[in-house]
């Protein structure tokens, strides 16, 4: 015989008031008939019958407060059910007692909260071995990025590039130079100025199996689109239980350019590195720009690829091999040393490299690490280095609070505490919006001198 239970109005409701019965014992009910009204301090609800039959017993009188969720409130005798059951139901005290027991049982039976399993560690492959005597070609970061896209687009017709001024104008910063000419307007698409819209559109296209590269004119304008990047792209695989992924690359210049003030000069490294489900890549050298952009385009996980306008024109040597793809998630030790570890990425590497040159000249054996990828972050390489040097200085253009340096400081403090000979020290952009005035802008950015001062502090030199 069906028992009507006190329903829950919300996931957090534990008990409520049975305010009114709309049927009485002996009434016949069918599915959808309203049996009773219940209420809590937040809401009211009608309790509908899902059975047909006769109301044989009302177990809780109307007006009763504090009726526990799942407590039987009435019994309905189904059509064709024997009359054996009613007598049981008539012994009113029993069912009233029962739910109390049930409730207690539920409480007792609730197991102690199981500990979350440990997060799996990300294992990145090593950089590929290059053939002996491979030719190295000098090119700008701009050319490296351009080549990476062109090579990948030749390989896979599902890859397309979309963004403001990427096609006819050849890219606001000329990263897409020549791509329209080679791949045509179907695959190199100029968009209106509608970042939120085209980012979402591209994520949708990725759901359908295409492999979009979305260029943001700068990452500052991606703030218009950040919801689609995080809520739609980054979380999709998890929300779909592994079914639907968004193989997409969001790329463009990040960080301060020159004299373009607060709304156009911001480093989003820490922002995006915060998000599970997203890979975040921030290369410094031309070779890394090429190898990592190719890897990003091949990745089935969405990638935020953070370039830097000031680095676009800087040159470096790029190996001339058929397919230069670097592992995402692997830091590069730019210089080995044993006295102090400097960790940086992207534009920060420029300050860090120049500081390292001066410090080495002054007799300090600096180990310089270029993170290259910010998520998954290669903390292993950093920890191993700090275990050797006992000192960590991080360099980034972004703000200090919740920054990449803050993360690294937390990591080495917990993983290499006993090895530290000095507090981990951060060199960051100042904690202010970017000013326009030339003198203030210079002060707001990190400097080579600040890196040297931080290294001197952690090595107790003056």
């Amino acid at each position: 015989m069906p028992t009507i239970l006190m329903p829950a109005l919300s996931p957090t409701m534990e008990e409520g008031k049975l305010s009114k019965w709309l049927v009485k014992e002996g009434d016949t009910v069918k599915p959808g008939d309203v049996l009773a009204e219940i209420e809590t301090d937040k809401a009211t609800m009608e309790v509908e019958s899902v059975d047909s039959g006769k109301v044989v017993k009302i177990l809780i009188p109307e007006g009763t407060e504090g009726v526990k969720v799942n407590e039987p409130i009435a019994q309905v005798q189904g059509e064709g059910e024997t009359l054996e059951a009613p007598p049981v139901a008539k012994t009113a005290p029993e069912p009233i007692e029962a739910p109390v027991v049930v409730a207690e049982k539920v409480a007792e039976a609730a197991p102690a909260q199981a500990a979350a399993p440990a997060a799996p560690s990300f294992v990145a492959a090593a950089d590929p071995d290059l053939p002996a005597g491979v030719e190295m070609v000098e090119m700008t970061v701009r050319q490296a990025l351009n080549e990476a896209m062109a090579e990948e687009m030749r390989r896979d017709p599902d890859i397309f590039l979309m963004g403001e001024e990427v096609a006819e104008y050849q890219g606001a910063y000329k990263i897409s130079q020549g791509l329209l000419q080679e791949f045509g307007p179907k695959r190199v698409v100029d968009t209106p100025i509608t970042e939120h819209g085209f980012a979402g559109l591209a994520v949708g296209a990725a759901f359908a199996g295409l492999r979009p590269i979305v260029e943001f004119m700068t990452w500052n304008f991606a703030m218009q689109a950040i919801d689609q990047i995080i809520n739609s792209a980054a979380k999709q695989l998890y929300m779909s239980g592994g079914q639907v992924s968004a193989p997409i690359v969001f790329r463009g210049p990040n960080g301060a350019a020159a004299r373009v003030a607060a709304q156009h000069s911001q480093d989003y490294s820490a922002w995006y590195s915060h998000i599970p489900g997203l890979y975040v890549v921030a290369p410094f050298s031309a070779a890394d720009a090429k190898g990592l952009l190719k890897a990003a385009i091949r990745s089935n996980t969405p990638v935020a690829f953070l370039e830097n306008e000031i680095l676009y024109g800087s040159t470096g040597l790029v190996p001339k091999v058929d397919d230069y793809v670097l592992p995402i998630g692997k830091a590069r030790i730019a210089r080995q040393g044993k006295d102090v570890t400097i960790v940086s990425f992207s534009m920060g590497m420029r300050y860090a490299t120049q500081a390292t040159e001066k410090l080495v000249a002054a007799g300090l054996d600096v180990e310089l690490i270029d993170l290259r990828t910010l998520r998954p972050m290669d903390t292993k390489t950093v920890i191993e280095s700090v275990k050797k040097t006992g000192r960590l200085v991080t360099v980034e253009e972004g703000w200090p609070q919740g920054g990449i340096g803050a993360e690294l400081a937390a990591v080495v403090t917990s993983e290499a505490f006993d090895y530290l000979d000095a507090p981990p020290t951060r060199v960051t952009g100042k904690d202010v919006p970017m000013p326009y005035a030339a003198n203030l802008e210079k002060l707001a950015l990190p400097s080579v001198d600040e890196v040297i001062a931080a290294v001197n502090a952690v090595t107790y030199r003056s």
Partner: protein
């Protein structure tokens, strides 16, 4: 199609401006023109950094709209192509130019630069670098006007490119829903950076963009200040009288590149020179002034001389004024309690 209104304004019933209005228009537009030319030159000399978006060619829009507004009471807001707006609203040219050079006497103490200048006193709210953001902000200014019931309206300027941002339509909806005194001025200068309207817009007639929200709109010859003034009066009256938002699409043209560096491959030299030769907003006013004898070649030269003096003074100030003190790095981040 969308261009018709620019074609020779030989219309018979063109609204006329009074002598005073013509002379004011001439002076205001000439100030913008000369100021912007100077700014362009100073940029070339390295005195101005970053981006610098000149308003040359579009002078009639902000001048005509502001003349039709209750200047200093009605709120105005625009994007980064903002120098002209500030000059017309009566902000000190010295302060504007010194902001461009990043000096302490700049309107934002040198912290904002070309794209970020504001004045509470003149009710100018920037000076916004994020394309489209000013439309929601301007709608908020209109919300405040209605909330306070103070009889003011809010005027938001945005480009043909900006007109495709989603928040523009979210704003239109709220403006109509709540009947806000919001006047939207689309400065359609045919290009958003290097992308022509036709390559960016499904509906290139921006005056129609409010239709589905129930917002009236008009397409206006934005090179003819008489048309601008007349339409702006209508739109502002509409908003001020409690009838809600209004859209004016100003068909205008920028003579210079988008910012200072611009490959200029997206349009022909001929297109630019034709606009200059046939539709220049200042030349139009000038020839009417002479024709109607509101002034003489000599009296107009006098105005020109005065304007040049103002611009020279602004440039001198902006080059001699010191940079902000280093301590300014840490000021103005949090509002005083």
């Amino acid at each position: 199609m969308a261009r018709k209104a620019v074609a020779k304004t030989a219309q018979s019933n063109v609204p006329e401006l009074t002598k005073e209005q013509e002379l004011t228009a001439y002076r205001e537009m000439l100030l913008i023109r000369r100021f912007e030319e100077k700014a362009g030159q100073m940029y070339g000399m390295g005195l101005i950094g970053g981006f610098c978006h000149l308003y040359i060619g579009q002078e009639a829009v902000v001048t005509g709209v502001t003349m039709a507004s209750n200047k200093g009471k009605d709120a105005q807001i625009t994007g980064y192509r903002d120098h002209g707006h500030m000059l017309v609203m009566g902000l000190d040219p010295k302060g504007v130019m010194a902001e461009l050079t990043g000096r302490q006497g700049g309107l934002s103490k040198g912290k904002g630069g070309s794209m970020h200048m504001f004045s509470n006193e003149h009710r100018f709210y920037g000076g916004n670098g994020i394309v489209g953001a000013q439309v929601s902000l301007g709608t908020g200014l209109a919300f405040a006007s209605k909330y306070r019931d103070d009889g003011t309206v809010s005027i938001s300027y945005f480009g043909d490119g900006a007109a495709n941002q989603g928040q523009v339509y979210e704003s239109f909806n709220m403006a109509k829903l709540w009947n806000l005194p919001a006047v939207y001025i689309v400065e359609n200068n045919r290009y958003g950076m290097g992308t022509s309207v036709e390559r960016a817009s499904g509906q290139p007639n921006f005056s129609k963009r409010g239709i589905s929200f129930g917002i009236e709109g008009e397409q206006v010859d934005g090179m003819d200040i008489r048309m601008v003034y007349d339409a702006a009066k209508r739109a502002i009256d509409h908003a001020r009288s409690g009838k809600g938002p209004y859209i004016l699409e100003m068909l205008t043209y920028r003579y210079r590149g988008h910012s200072m560096s611009d490959p200029a491959k997206y349009r022909t030299k001929d297109e630019v020179s034709t606009m200059r030769a046939e539709h220049d907003p200042i030349e139009q006013v000038k020839s009417r002034i002479l024709e109607k004898r509101y002034g003489t070649e000599d009296s107009l030269k006098e105005i020109e001389t005065e304007i040049r003096a103002i611009v020279t003074e602004a440039a001198d100030f902006a080059t001699s004024d010191p940079e902000p003190a280093a301590s300014e790095l840490w000021t103005d981040i949090y509002a005083p309690a």
